[in-house]
């Protein structure tokens, strides 16, 4: 494959960023917006070409004996450390990166287009598009990374562009603090990622994904049987261990910590709800569809390595399962519609994590892996749809809270229908896409362990409940006073992406995903286990929707009663189980007051004080010995004589004794 298209895929958004960033202030809003849309549109086309070439051309470098291969399009040295340990900037094509190329460019294009309407007339319109371009560049760079350090580089860059976009309304203090929080929390997680990389790269001597995971893949599908002992030894770092776990486990868990930060897993999830301070299209792009799944993508990327340490996979599963449940519960109680969607995102990403965590080669040939990627794909579409729909609502009523909405189905039919499709998809109702992917995940869970399956089914039910709670509260319930300006559907640049994504959400489930994306490149034929998994989960979803309908379709006191009845639990969930307060306590009270301030005090008073104290001592000493110079000549002679005698006496004593 010629590298020109991949290079363009990376360079066009970067160029867009530079052009819009440097020349933006001189451009009109319209020119800047259309430039951005065209740029990303071109990238989208190129990405499609690349993906199609990869999946369908059947060229021997992409597929061999039915097994899809990893193919490095180009790999440029960027920074050499020692020996072969080199950071390279390259372009890796394999099933998941091709998949991500499609997802990112599609959503990004939709958001670019949508923003033409949504951000119309905003101050800093050009800047907004510049940041979008920067984000697209970073995200694309991340998914095509050929080595873990390239991934880390773009990982940081997406963090920064996320920071910039969350803080887009920089004059709003809440946006500023939200952006700061997002950056710092993910930075903290990245610390783990970095240390993990250090450990991994030191012992393996490489950053390259193909070297790290290739050996596992090359030795066949069943890791435990077929890998030669030598490979295991090199990957297990010769049995080095630390605090009871092997270093490989440590490395993998630490790397996963980076993923926990970006993908907002408990307890590093707190930034994502706040990140909704950014413009809504940004939330759709970054905080629903693309960046937040980077953590999932990271685990998937290193999946063969994780397979070597089941402890790490178990850890992922547990974190994912807890997060999924937690986020779903919180989502049931939120007022801000974007926050509901944010928590729903957290919950859905946790689904993907769990799915990866339970995946084993021996269980349906690594079904969990495929399911996770499938869900990533479908979720990106319907969650972007939901967010963009929410954006249209917010655009129409100028508020984020459902209390300001209600009965909107009459005023905004397109939004209503598309939003409903999104809700159905996420609730897992066939034939919408969410059903298929979620079903695969649940199958994988049940296959691994019944507990995971049951647990995740419950979460799926909760998902259906809170999504329809939201749906009813927005579109049904009671109509508030909208005044003279009745809400209406958004202009075509905003509606078009909605409709497009809704269509995708309707049909995406029928894609034979397993043919394209599996953990080892060999095709997997999806078959739905209707009796064991699908039917029960549909039933659960329908029941949950029914409950939501009962509670929220029309204005009634039931929700309040339920809230009262559950009391403390409801309050706690409403306050997101006080995670923010805990963090506030730790950062402000403990780190700021008990570490930073004492250190600053120590520096000013002890360290600085010692230096000043030395000067003070000299001054004091100087004053103390002042009487020596009394002015009286006889006292001078006393000192003289005493000095001479002492000099002689002490020397005599020392020399002769």
């Amino acid at each position: 494959m010629e590298p020109i298209i991949p290079i363009l895929i990376l360079c066009l958004p970067l160029l867009g960023f530079l052009v819009l960033g440097l020349l933006g202030p001189k451009m009109s809003h319209k020119a800047a917006g259309w430039y951005g849309v065209l740029s990303i549109g071109t990238v989208m086309v190129l990405a499609y070409i690349t993906a199609i070439t990869y999946f369908f051309s059947g060229a021997p470098e992409f597929i061999l004996d039915g097994t899809r291969l990893q193919y490095v399009v180009f790999n440029q040295d960027w920074l050499n450390f020692y020996k072969d340990l080199t950071i390279r900037i390259g372009f890796l094509l394999d099933p998941i990166s091709a998949l991500m190329l499609v997802v990112i460019t599609t959503i990004s294009f939709c958001v670019h287009l949508y923003s033409l309407g949504y951000m119309e007339g905003e101050k800093g319109f050009q800047r907004y598009y510049a940041f979008l371009q920067l984000f697209s560049f970073s995200m694309l760079g991340l998914v095509v990374a050929t080595n873990i350090f390239q991934m880390y580089i773009f990982w940081e860059l997406v963090g920064a562009s996320s920071y910039l976009l969350i803080g887009f309304y920089y004059q709003r203090p809440s946006a500023v603090s939200a952006s700061k929080k997002a950056f710092i929390v993910t930075r903290f997680a990245d610390l783990g990622f970095l240390i993990g990389i250090l450990i991994l790269s030191y012992y393996t001597g490489t950053f390259n994904f193909t070297d790290l995971t290739g050996s596992v893949l090359a030795n066949g599908s069943s890791v435990n049987n077929l890998i030669t002992p030598g490979v295991v030894a090199s990957l297990k770092f010769g049995g080095a261990s630390f605090m009871g776990c092997s270093l490989l486990t440590w490395a993998l868990v630490l790397i996963f910590m980076g993923g926990m930060g970006k993908s907002a897993m408990l307890p590093l999830h707190i930034w994502l709800p706040d990140a909704m301070e950014g413009p809504t299209p940004v939330s759709a792009l970054i905080h629903a569809a693309t960046m937040v799944v980077a953590g999932v993508y990271l685990v998937a990327r290193l999946f063969p390595l994780y397979l070597m340490e089941e402890a790490a996979l178990l850890f992922i599963t547990v974190v994912g399962a807890i997060t999924a449940f937690y986020a779903a519960v919180v989502a049931c109680t939120q007022v801000d519609i974007k926050r509901v969607l944010a928590f729903s995102t957290i919950s859905q990403i946790a689904f993907m994590m769990v799915s990866l965590g339970v995946a084993r080669p021996e269980i349906h040939e690594g079904l969990g892996y495929m399911a996770s990627m499938f869900h990533l794909f479908t979720h990106a579409m319907f969650k972007a749809l939901l967010f963009l729909g929410a954006g249209a609502l917010i655009h129409a009523v100028h508020s984020n809270d459902y209390t300001a909405m209600g009965g909107l189905r009459k005023y905004m039919p397109i939004t209503h229908i598309t939003f409903l499709i999104g809700c159905l998809a996420i609730a897992g109702i066939p034939p919408f896409s969410g059903f298929f992917s979620k079903d695969e995940i649940l199958s994988a869970c049940y296959e691994n362990n019944f507990i995971w399956g049951a647990w995740m089914s419950m979460v799926a039910g909760l998902t259906a409940f809170y999504m329809f709670r939201l749906y009813y509260l927005i579109f049904w319930w009671d109509e508030p006073d909208y005044g003279h300006h009745k809400p209406h559907d958004a202009p075509w640049p905003m509606s078009l992406p909605l409709i497009f994504l809704a269509l995708v959400s309707c049909v995406a489930g029928f894609i034979p995903f397993g043919e394209f994306v599996t953990w080892n490149g060999e095709p997997y034929h999806i078959h739905i286990n209707w009796v064991g998994v699908a039917i029960p989960s549909i039933v659960i979803a329908v029941l949950a929707i029914a409950l939501a309908t009962f509670m929220y379709r029309k204005k009634n006191p039931l929700p309040d009663k339920v809230a009262k009845a559950t009391g403390a639990l409801w309050t706690a969930a409403h306050h997101r189980f006080y995670w923010d307060e805990i963090y506030m306590f730790i950062t402000h009270k403990i780190i700021f007051n008990l570490i930073c301030k004492p250190i600053a005090w120590f520096d000013r008073h002890i360290i600085d004080g010692t230096m000043d104290g030395l000067a003070w001592c000299a001054q004091r000493l100087s004053i103390t010995i002042r009487p020596l110079q009394s002015g009286n000549v006889q006292s001078y002679v006393y000192v003289y004589l005493f000095g001479a005698l002492l000099l002689g006496g002490v020397t005599a004593a020392v020399v002769l004794l």
């Binding site: 500023v176 950056f183 990245d190 610390l191």
Partner: protein
Amino acid sequence: MFSNPLIYFVVIPVIMLLGIYLSRNMAQIRTVAVAGSLALLGLSAWLLVDYLGLRAAGADAPMLYRGDWTWFSAMNIKLSVGVDGISIAMLLLSSIILLTGSFASWKINPLPKEFFLWLILLSIGVFGFFISIDLFTMFMFYEVALIPMYLLIGIWGTGRKEYSAMKLTLMLMGGSAFLMLSLIGIYYNAGLHSWNLLEIAQADSIDHTWQMFLFPMAFVGFGVLGAMFPFHTWSPDGHACAPTAVSMLHAGVLMKLGGYGCFRVAIYLMPYAANELAWIFLILTGISVVYGAFSACVQTDLKYINAYSSVSHCGLVLFAILMLNTTAMTGAIMQMLSHGLMTALFFALIGMIYGRTHTRDIRQMGGLMKIMPYLAVCYMIAGFASLGLPGLSGFVAEMTIFVGSFENTHTLNRVFTIIACCSIVITAVYILRVVGKLLLGPVYDKHHEELTDATWWERTSTVTLIICVAAIGCFPNFFANLIRTTFSPEIFKVLGM
């Protein structure tokens, strides 16, 4: 003597001194300052190209452009010059910062003539230090660079300038007292009757017991200038009170003298003791890294924040040097370059902001992004460079350091590497705190709304620095190779590689 290109790094500033002495008005002073610094920049750029050419052509001496001129024949003190990749990187850095510093002090007041005279005297010291390979000459230039600081801060500074200037001078001179003893000790104990550091390193004849005595002194001596904990306390006050260009030059270049010296003298000449005693200084510098960052979190004065941040970043330089391997060493030099550029950018911007708002207290400012977008964006870029955003210089330097440090398998080193890694989080905290407080949010002071954005000379100064920061960040391998491939053979022997 004048056929050696290196000598012009001292000659040009001397001519500048003369030129400024003879200038009659501000315009002439500026012309001389800018023209001279451009000449220096050109010279270092030419040197870089020519040097790479020579290396590519197979010149494998540890130092190129060698020149020796006997000075004090009886003591065998010579004016010996020579450069390798590290020195060239430092020379390049110094000339860039001198140039941008000249632009940053475009409107210095009062006594512009004297200001530039002292500034250039300072730069003579800096350039002389980087080209020298004779211990005596090196030390002399080192001290030449220190003393103008007193007057520069004392006369043109702000705040508690007299106290700070005195503290800075005394502490740095205190460091150099240890250094002087160590250098004389090296001279006598090497027994070569030579001050040339290449010869001393080659012979490696310093008695091991004496190394254990002399190494700490040399390291502390240079470490004081490198703001090593607990000898860093001159840095916050000094930087806070210094005028813009001086802060730039001091944090950007002068503090690098410390790291450079630690590497070039302490470790290079006394490898045995370096191996034995590295752990002590590793602990100290490791503390510096985290300690500086934590301290920066609670400061309210912009310059204090930056000064503590410098403590942290320069601590990382010394930390990496102590890891005693090529990767970390490369990282240390890159960090010096990176920190020099970005901290100069920071101080330049702080000076520009201070010149407009007349305060450096972040509690009294806010929303500057709206008022002076250009400066605010530059500040943000500097901030991102500082917290290690890929694409800017900080990232590559820190990563090289971390990867290199992790290469050292000693448990203590590993533990401190991980502790040092934590600084990337803390750095993010304080940088974003400032950015959030200062640049973003609503405008704090309504009077600030009338303020203007950057003027052309301010733009020149900042753009130059930003381009350099980005250049290192985007093409790190060029700089890494410049540094790495020129580690002289001795150093590999020293480090056992």
